[in-house]
Symmetry: C2
Subunit: 139 residues, 2 copies
DNA sequence: GATACAATCTACAGCCACTAGAGGTTCAAG
DNA sequence: CTTGAACCTCTAGTGGCTGTAGATTGTATC
């Protein structure tokens, strides 16, 4: 028997036990069986599946996108282009987020650098936050 | 009378009406008065305050941080250093997010480039998502 | 003044992706 | 056989809003 309990699975995939139960609730992963007492039993392939989910989440994929990717990997005979499309869309989102964050960093840097270190009444931080026109960026 | 209704305020600050009511609920902003019928009435200074909140939110500050900044700007005689500290902490967070996103972009780019455009069974996207060891990054 | 209709009101449910807790049961080691 | 860690279900909470229902108010036009 290579069956593992939920705690072990959580450890392997660096997840919380609650998170696995949540994934089960929304239909992403199922234990292959239960003990007589009701404890969930998982196989090694469930560890892979869970790692897949976690890694995808870390990469910023949403649950529905992951569901799509899992469907694809469950049907290996289908075309790769769907998975490719999901990844490309994700890449696009990341590029956008990156640009926004860069503009943001610029603005924050300027705020911190220009802080007069005096009274709040002359504080650039407060002033800049009060008025969007101070932004160099276009967010 | 320069009093404005909530809808007008929302328009000025590019917010939703519901959001303003939510901010009132959590104590960030209050109408200076109400009509006999119960409609909220705001002054021009409320527009500034709301813009301050919205702009701060766009910059990634959390509600509690904004509450802190508002407290500061409500007490202009205090030192600027507290506002500076909040902004610095925020900048640090942004730098971290930026680095993570860059690593992520690298990984996604590689995924998309290596996609074999064949069957899912040979798809690099699925494969890479299945196994963290494929990552060049350190996320 | 009547009427129509937009804007506002309160109260509550829902979103995402978990996370935490209560209170009870089961499993495995000694 | 006992202990105590791990597990179970169920419910509620997080942050920061957003959406809906049904009632009321405000305002423009006739």
């Amino acid at each position: 028997m290579t069956a593992i309990a939920i705690g072990k699975l959580a450890e392997i995939a660096s997840t919380k036990v609650q998170t696995i139960r949540y994934y089960e609730e929304i239909g992403l992963i199922q234990p292959f069986s239960r003990t007589e007492g009701g404890h969930r039993l998982y196989g090694p392939e469930d560890a892979s599946r869970l790692k897949f989910i976690r890694h995808s989440r870390e990469l910023g994929f949403g649950i529905e996108e992951i569901r799509g990717l899992l469907d694809l990997s469950d049907h290996p005979e289908t075309s790769c282009s769907a998975a490719d499309a999901i990844a490309r869309a994700q890449l696009e989102q990341v590029e956008i987020r990156l640009e926004k964050l860069k503009a943001l960093r610029k603005e924050l840097k300027r705020m911190v650098e220009e802080c007069g270190h005096g009274r709040v009444s002359q504080c650039r931080v407060i002033e800049v936050l009060s008025d969007h026109r101070h932004c160099g960026g276009d967010h």
